[in-house]
């Protein structure tokens, strides 16, 4: 099922998860996540051929409602927790490099 977890894989996963890591973080998480993944190995003992995955305990599907407008948060309330806003929009840093 798996090979040993490497620092390179931890760096790649952190990049995918958008979490900046220090080298000390990489060392610690490589060891700790490796232990957890080693424990999870026990799942490979079980034969699950033909078993449908269970994503949801009650398996409710297609919950529909009328498509009617209802009151929702005001713009002011929606922006109230934003770290940076101009009162109309959420502001973000520059996306494209200059030049």
């Amino acid at each position: 099922m798996s090979e040993a977890l490497t620092p390179e894989t931890v760096r790649k996963v952190a990049r995918l998860a958008r979490i900046q890591l220090t080298e000390a973080d990489v060392d610690r998480f490589t060891r700790q996540l490796g232990q957890v993944l080693g424990y999870v190995e026990m799942l490979s003992e079980l034969n699950t051929d033909g078993v449908e995955p269970l994503a949801h305990p009650l398996e409710i599907e297609n919950v529909l409602r009328e498509d009617e407008p209802t009151p929702s948060l005001s713009r002011e309330a929606a922006l109230s927790n934003s770290p940076k806003s101009d009162g109309k929009y959420f502001l973000v840093p520059q996306i494209l490099d200059a030049g």
Binding site: I19, Q32, E52, L58, I60, V92, I95
Partner: protein, 486 residues
Amino acid sequence: MPTITRQLHQSLLSGAVTSTALVQRCLNQIAARDGQVKAFLQIDADNALAQAAAIDARRQSGQSAGRFAGLPVGLKDNICVMGATATCGSRILENFISPYDSHVAERLKAEGAVLLGRTNLDEFAMGSSCENSAFAVTRNPWDLERAPGGSSGGSAAAVSAGMLPLSLGSDTGGSIRQPAALCGIVGMKPTYGRVSRYGLVAYASSLDQIGPFAGDVYGAALIMEAIAGHDRRDSTSVNLPVPSYTQTVDQPLAGLKIGVAREHFVEGLDPAVEQSVRAAIEVYRSLGATIIEVSLPRSRYCVAVYYMVASSEASSNLSRFDGVHYGHRSENHGNLAEMYAASRAEGFGDEVKRRIMLGTYALSAGYYDAYYKKALQVRRLIREDFDAAFQSVDLILSPVTPSSAFKIGELTSDPLAMYLQDIYTLSANLAGIPGLSIPCGYSPSGLPIGLQLLGPHFSEDRLLRAARMYESVTDWHSRRPAIAVD
């Protein structure tokens, strides 16, 4: 302060006690003891007294004071109340103020409960000890050197320490039942879909449920009948009638068939816990129940399945914390992608980072089939084990935790050892079934021990009645830690 909800509720309903007086007593106990226990992250005393005064005024003018009649309830700080914090125990939400009410907060307000304070938790409900909070380490009221359990440790400690009669927590893998057991009170995880998750900050959406803590079974029943029910804002909320749990809780169940699984009494279970749980089995036998051995052959896989499923869902849910719409934004960044990564690195603690990365790994190309899909297949087998067992029994009785409360710091450096604390509770979340924890004894050093009752989907009424049968012939629930005595 009496922690027996039934008596407090009667006193409020009869007018012998006002909500204002009761809330003031809670505030006094919090002022006296919470410096040591640290159950609360925030208290707004003026706001709580104003809510109580309004309820008292309604009662005095002859109007209904509501189902709760002014009983105070504490909410875990991941359940939104408009105008209050919802830090989730995380730096990333340190300054977040909720712009709306959760479904459960709306229900409690409408039914005459006083919302008193925000209780501590492991960051984003990830943990079993309350040590992962960014703001405070909550202490177990029975022994301040020990953990109260988690993640809803603040809600459990507050009730146990006599600061509040009732509180709400959330349970994703045992986060209500385990702290209830370690703090010597009643806690219940409802069936998945029984209580709306609208306004609960999501950790693992297919496992999370909100539920009650109380000093007695009656209190848990009272909260359940107020918060259960359909809510169109949560598409997984189920549209089934809500029984009047407090009306039936005192009716014993005749011909009760209780299952005991051999897999629950294996190596790793503390002898004092085993002894107390086996004694509880004998209590049920003396009450006329039939005890039947059942098997849950896949239960040894539940920790592995849980950490794959919960971490995968968490990695997706927590991607919303990006420093844009709410929460912490790093000052140390260049472009947008760097801003995301720096904000999340500064805002999240280690356990949250571990689970996000574990989930990201399990969902990533090349590993998805081996980890995430495999875990979901075994999840079905675990649910099938319960379905089979409930063909022959009405409920299953087990320990809640492998041992009584552990010392603060004892397990923090070993995430896997901490995960194994939840070995008896996780499977209920995976299968979606309800579970209840009730005090059933004390260790030789005087620490509480819990008994878990598990039932089929939507059997809350049965679990509460069965728990009440036990409570009515035992007095474990009436013991309080020294710190609770005012």
